[in-house]
Symmetry: C2
Subunit: 218 residues, 2 copies
Amino acid sequence: MSDEQVAAPTNRRRISQRGIATRERILEAANRLMFVRGVNATTLDDIREASQTSKSQLYHHFADKQELVRALVKYRGALVLQRERGGLERLRSFSGLVRWRNALVKANSLNNGRYGCGLGSMAVELSDQDEQARSMLLETFAAWEKLISDGLHRMRDSGALRPDADPEKLATGLMAALQGGYLLANAAHNVAPMEVALDMALEHIKSYLSEPSGEPTR
Amino acid sequence: MSDEQVAAPTNRRRISQRGIATRERILEAANRLMFVRGVNATTLDDIREASQTSKSQLYHHFADKQELVRALVKYRGALVLQRERGGLERLRSFSGLVRWRNALVKANSLNNGRYGCGLGSMAVELSDQDEQARSMLLETFAAWEKLISDGLHRMRDSGALRPDADPEKLATGLMAALQGGYLLANAAHNVAPMEVALDMALEHIKSYLSEPSGEPTR
DNA sequence: CACGGCCAGGACCGAATAGTCCCGGAAGGC
DNA sequence: GCCTTCCGGGACTATTCGGTCCTGGCCGTG
């Protein structure tokens, strides 16, 4: 772990492109398998096989399973944030939110609602058993919510949202609806509940839109 | 399971009060432990120890761990529905919903948001690994939502809710907000997100209240 | 009061899975 | 072009945990 700190006299490069590729392959396999089976139900042998590597590599790149899981939390968090940045960074209007909603629903409908949210599932499974994983997930959720609330702030600044709208609370509510929607959709093997949940959150945000464009509740 | 059906000639009582008590003790212990550690992270030895019983009892009352987990799903589902029936059966007004919300938040705040919803956590952990458990959880969620939507129907029939309110969708949205709130609160070790989520859902329902009592959006 | 069935206890077994070790071989510097 | 260094492979070990089995004793019944 921290023995990279101990710089040997001769500049030794402990990084190698092949090594990085292997590490990536392991994480990618862990990501796939743990997404569908859950973290605890996935064995290291499953991962080894799926990643076309070996035990020694797993333990070369990760101290133990817990470390691998933590690395996965980081990995998956980065993936989600990157994806979400694409959909939210330029958010400036309500219709942008609708497009964002549609993209999430569409993606999840490919699985018929199964598996839920990569981050949400891990949060449920790990929050009570790995404090460090929990706090990383918490940060990721915060960053994700911030992408949303930043967009809402822009909408408020531009006058699209009324001044009394609270972007942070709206973002939290939307995130909860999203996560709850994922959860119910997973239990139902059907995206419908997720759609209903997101539509509720969007209607709630809609109720904070400024008058000009019409504010009929229905 | 169904071998009680096969009635032997002589009326043999296979039930005994002590046996029932033991079974109950096992389920109660499993309920407690799996609530805080999660299902997969709880071992049968943990349960045996916590319930002051032995291995043979576990396997006397349950065929295997999976059966125990399924029994727990039923057990916990019954508990939740019973609790929720108390809070929702007489629901007739918006303030009743607020009281219901407050009770849930208060209960969860005792854990500082930890552990989440007993049903929701199981749904996440089991949906991808036990089809039967998933469908039982799905039914339980449906029954829970029905308690809510029945109340909303009563409110609509009495004129408290506008005719264009859709009790089923509102109930699904509320349930998603609740589950998402539990999830975020668990990750944060803080009930705040759950409160925000529930308040969003309640405000959404509020927007469907009839005019007379005032309909200020804010 | 004796007998038989059911329940509690816990030692024991086997499989699965996390984690270790050693060797072969490729890559890159001297 | 050799030699050190690090990466990859997979056999091996240890442990945990689900599941079995045998023993003893309590309880109700004839």
